[in-house]
Symmetry: C2
């Protein structure tokens, strides 16, 4: 049976919240073996790195593990719609498939705003699956921001 | 006298080409002191990192040097129009100003395609200066791809 990758991503998001980071989590999976190559939660504040979104962290770690910058044959599971930075990085890495949870009308770059994959300047369009365990991911973000207000 | 930051970025691009990387270079400058905080050339292949564009490298290094993920008070000089990934990272890092060389109709995300800074999902728009030493940057890219064909 295939593991519940979104459950793992949600676990990473919870871990991020516990560290005071915006709760977004991601896992990168090798499609042939079903193995998780990398898992991460958002780490922008703790690592003082504006690019340390969960998606970027798993792309970088998985590419390092593979020893090459392209991640064909992989799929990404992430709790929130990727922003334009992450969507463009996913295209550059040639990830096959992206499964995400909650939509992000404020910052998203897949179904909102820059719509990175729909542009003629995007040279790889992954398969997209949206809305997987959407309400859990969205509720975690709402609770995080509610507590900070 | 202010140093010629684009000359430094072009030097980084030349270094990238010498390492077999697409020749793009960037420097990040603290505007108050005029000091270069970070300089880098594209390193996607050698570091097996799909996100290792020159812009991302200088943002990450400068933020690490500052110990925080936001780079207000800084300006970025880069030889080529940033792609959507880099443009969105620049916005996330709250860089004040971006000076770039050649336009990039094929992959650019500032004046082409995703036009990241013009989207309602972009919450920080830097000042943009385009076309600085454009022909040198463009010629370096053309020579690189000509030699690889």
């Amino acid at each position: 049976m295939r593991p519940d990758y979104m459950a793992l991503a949600l676990e990473e998001a919870r871990g991020a919240a516990a560290r005071g980071e915006v709760p977004v989590g991601a896992v990168l999976v090798d499609r042939a073996s079903g193995k998780v190559i990398a898992a991460a939660g958002n780490a922008v504040e703790e690592s003082a790195d504006p690019t340390a979104h969960a998606e970027i962290l798993v792309l970088r770690r998985a590419a390092a593990a593979r020893g090459r910058p392209r991640l064909d044959g992989c799929e990404l599971h992430v709790t929130l719609e990727p922003c334009a930075m992450c969507a463009a990085a996913i295209a550059l890495a040639r990830v096959d498939r992206v499964v995400y949870g909650a939509p992000d009308p404020k910052m998203g770059g897949v179904a909102h705003g820059a719509r990175v994959f729909d542009q003629p300047t995007c040279h790889h369009r992954p398969e997209i699956v949206a809305g997987v365990r959407e309400s859990e991911a969205a509720e975690m973000l709402r609770a995080f921001f509610r507590a900070r207000r």
